[in-house]
């Protein structure tokens, strides 16, 4: 069994390395840092039907990934046919920043009253300001999550803004998962 060392790799390199390794081998062992790399890789593998065996140590995780159902390796990004919202800014529309922020806030609050909800909301770039401490829409995002909407924030973006430890809604994701979601979904709504 091959062992790949993904410690100290920047996001999304661990997921990409694991994905590549799994294309050639049915069983691999991966060394990962705790936090986002561990979460992203294990979610990626589980979503693809692989079996995981995890061991935590002082310097992170050793995860053994074994192939499960190779016939159906890809998770449908939006099995329900519901749209995916790509929230790439903390503002809605072009114009004064203050107005844009107000409109985005209003949009997310109003979404709660809509009958059809998105399957996923992907927050990236300044959009991650909405899922982190100090955001005015955390209560609304919590309610949306309670109604089954998956709330995901770009880990690289959280890192860039220095707010990795301030995430208060949903979980982190990486560019590979974002790209796959976009490619597999018929209805992407970019906000």
């Amino acid at each position: 069994m091959d062992t790949i060392d993904c410690r100290n790799m920047p996001c999304p390199a661990p997921v990409i390395s694991v994905k590549k390794a799994l294309e050639h081998s049915g069983e691999i062992r991966v060394l990962l840092d705790d936090g986002a790399p561990h979460e992203n890789v294990t979610r990626f593998a589980r979503n693809r039907g692989f079996t995981l065996q995890e061991e935590q140590s002082d310097n992170g995780w050793a995860v053994t990934i074994t192939s499960g159902t190779p016939d159906n390796p890809t998770l449908p990004a939006s099995p329900s046919g519901k749209p995916v919202f790509l929230v790439s800014s903390d503002r809605l529309g072009d114009g004064p920043e203050e107005l844009g922020r107000l409109l985005m806030k209003n949009f997310i609050h109003t979404l709660l009253e809509a009958g059809d909800l998105p399957a996923r909301m992907l927050f990236l770039n300044s959009g991650v300001r909405l899922t982190t401490e100090g955001s005015d829409v955390l209560e609304a995002l919590d309610k949306l999550a309670g109604m089954g909407v998956e709330i995901l924030s770009c880990g690289l973006c959280l890192d860039f803004f220095g707010i990795k430890d301030k995430l208060r809604a949903g979980s982190t994701t990486n560019m590979l998962a974002i790209v796959e979601t976009i490619l597999a979904t018929d209805r992407i709504v970019r906000l």
Binding site: L102, D136, A140, K143
Partner: protein, 101 residues
């Protein structure tokens, strides 16, 4: 279904007659650390800008005091009794807060 909404029974909603005024009020109150939230006004309330400031009875007095000092009083304040039903507890023409009458 019902608790998914941002306004629950007992919440107070202050309605202003312009977007600029409500945004100014929001920024002043937040600056003073008051737990208010600027939200879309429920359909049952008539507003010019479609927005309302949400808070609770506990903050009513401090909020009204600050908004009076800063000269950004709302047009009126309502309390939600139940779904689609609101009672008026303060309005601009009545300078004595109805909450305590």
């Amino acid at each position: 279904m019902e608790n998914r909404l941002m306004v629950q029974d007992g919440h107070l909603l202050a309605v202003f007659n312009s977007a600029h005024r409500i945004m100014k009020a929001e920024s002043i109150l937040k600056g003073r650390g008051l737990p208010i939230l600027l939200i879309p006004a429920p359909r049952a309330l008539s507003t010019d800008c479609g927005l309302a400031l949400r808070f609770t009875d506990e903050e009513f007095d401090s909020i009204m005091e600050i908004l009076t000092q800063e000269n950004v009083l709302p047009a009126y304040v309502n309390r939600r009794i139940n779904f689609e039903k609101y009672e008026l507890i303060w309005n601009g023409e009545n300078s004595i807060p109805l909450l305590h009458s």
